[in-house]
């Protein structure tokens, strides 16, 4: 989105040519569809924030071919991913593995929700009875009226 603003900052965008070419594709539609799914989860290491499925960089093409080659060799999806990770590290996975290091990433948002919920409940409970129901004061009401 900000895509434009970023470009606006005087930047060059990779040629927006599409990536997967017909001559790369596997004849078997089931295998090809597996390859596409795997490719969408693998990051192109030179263009950095695109999947190899989206990128037209030469290295991305090499990796797409590699993924397809591994599939035709009978490897499972997990084996193909591991093959690439062994060479480039977890960096190539657009979905980072759930490990000790990445725990906060995966549970953080849910923790925000749960801790926030607990916080709201406590806040509701803690309020002293005297403040139980203070409607808008007359001064506040008058000021609001002046605005309407």
């Amino acid at each position: 989105m900000l895509r434009l603003a970023a470009l606006a900052a005087g930047l060059l965008l990779a040629t927006p040519a599409a990536a997967v070419m017909p001559d790369e594709m596997l004849a078997d539609p089931a295998q090809e569809s597996r390859a596409r799914t795997i490719s969408k989860d693998l990051r192109c290491v030179v263009c950095q924030n695109q999947s190899i499925d989206d990128s037209d960089a030469p290295l991305a093409k090499d990796l797409r071919l590699l993924v397809r080659e591994q599939i035709t060799l009978g490897k499972t999806d997990a084996q193909v991913r591991d093959y690439v990770v062994a060479r480039y590290g977890n960096f190539v996975l657009l979905k980072p593995p759930v490990e000790g290091d990445t725990l906060l990433l995966w549970v953080g948002p849910f923790a925000v929700l749960i801790l926030g919920g607990i916080g709201v409940l406590l806040w509701q409970r803690r309020r002293p009875a005297s403040a139980a129901d203070t409607p808008l004061s007359d001064v506040e009401r008058a000021e609001l009226d002046r605005l309407s």
Partner: protein, 662 residues
Amino acid sequence: MLAEIGHYALILALLVAMAQAVLPMLGAVRGDAALMAFGRSAAACQAVLIAIAFGALMTLFGQADFSVALVANHSAISQPLPYRLAATWGNHEGSMLLWVLVLSLYGAGIARFGDNLRTTLQARVLSVQAMISVAFLAFALFTSNPFARLSPAPLDGAELNPLLQDPGLVFHPPLLYLGYVGFSVTFSFAVAALLEGRADPAWARWMRPWVLAAWVPLTIGITLGSFWAYYELGWGGWWFWDPVENASFMPWLLGTALLHSAIVTEKRGSLAGWTILLAILAFSLSLIGTFLVRSGILTSVHAFAVDPERGVFILAMIIGATGTALALFALRAPQMKSGALFGSISREAGLTMNNLLLMALTAVVFLGTFYPVIMEAVAPANKISVGPPYYNLVFVPLSVPLLLLVTVGPMLAWKRDDLAIVGKKLLVPAAITAVLLAGLTAWTGLANAVAALGLALGGWLILGAVLVLVRRWWGAGGFSWRLVRTTPAASIGLALAHAGLGFTTAGIAAMTTFAAENILVMRPGETAVAGPLSVTLRDAQEVDGANYRALRARFTVQQGGRETTLVSERRFYNNSRNQTTEAGIGVSVLGNQYVAIGDVQSDARGQGLVVRLYWHPLVGWIWFGGLLMALGGAASLSDRRFRIGAPQQRSLPLAPGLVPAE
């Protein structure tokens, strides 16, 4: 000469901003009306000066004055005039100038339309606003001077990236800036409230139109950017979870939360501290977004012109602004009066839940965007990436309860409501949605249950939005035109915005699951299938454009007995030697037909053109919904009670309890 005038105006603006940062604040502390009045004049003066600078730069671009380095680097004579003018903000320096222009216009707005503000509050808001101005003007002048000269001047300039030669560019960045910078106003309001030690309902009402004034253009800007990416980037994606997109999405999520929490503060005096915190964070995330784009700390689809020096400067600004505001928050907020209590089933409780869920969603985007940076510091050997699969897994489950809540919220009564009564109100929409869900699941198959759920949720939202108006128009005595006429604009805004969210949800659900594609080599006369489409390549030929040559292919697309012609081009720009793809898109309510051509390639049957065919069901709903949300915001903004600066029509003061509640 013009460049020097612009440069000089910018320096003067900096001096004015410096005075404006100090004097009105002093006036508010001392109760000196003259000093406070100075703030209003200074804000107007600053806006005029920056407008002069911006006008000068734009004229320089219009005249193609290549003795100015910026003009020489970002425009060429062969470019059409509108795009040369748009190039004013199509680069780092110019866009920073646009940023300060928008900032100063908002400042002038507070001065001009803030007549009914408490004068001390207005003075403080203007001072805080000027402090932000000082920082950005200094940034523009000292690290990114747009008026630097180039000697000797070249005969022609370097062309703007052809991807940017598009109407999208003309409007997208200014709209985003209106949004980002708009949150500077709410930030200033929050800091001023902390300084005054008061955040009461009147404060919330003053601030709310400014929240809307930022949120509406931000919504349009994001929608437009998504649309632009879809039709220009050539592969039909509409959202990439790119750091640069996330940078605009986070302030939007927080701005949406702020919009809702401010209602509670205004109506009931509650959640004031929370509203202040949200106002601070929304602007902080806008600043951090700028930092992301300009510092190169994260990589994105765009190859950034990495400049750590600018990054350091912006980081210092963020630390100065957000750090000070949050420190003030820690000091002052605990002492502020907390408003009325509310039951666990009430409008307030619903809005609190809304805020919690929006915070959780913001946390998803925030962690996804910054976790790689954090990992780099904590575990440098284990670099990670966070991409679309992560967001889909975490964002979607958290957004479902929020979407469910959107229809429930407006049906809740303020203060305290009864579960049985709410249940009765919800019976009809819930039943219709359940039938819709069952029908959709039966039709699309159990494997697509998630998409069916998304579509049904869309229906649930649209239904809920319609019900808001229906329940208002059908009073105890049946339908009445009087009730229609007296419907507050804010209620209509609510209905439009919630319905818009429904359309967007349905569009996303359909697009994610039912989109079809076919990538292949085609020769003229051949026909291929993509989902419900049957596409024939008619011919392909070379054509000449204004400053490019193109390969143009024409297609005939058949769908359900209807035939359309689509044209796709691959353009080669002579000057910059760039290539772009112009996709052919057939638009309808049900979805878009999308064809894009690539290079020449061979397959088993010989040489042909690489062709990408797509069927994008309901994709237009995504942007239609976005625009509807913005329209809803605009409708709310037009509400009489917000008409900032309008002559105050004070008839009889409303009796307590008669204040219309929505």
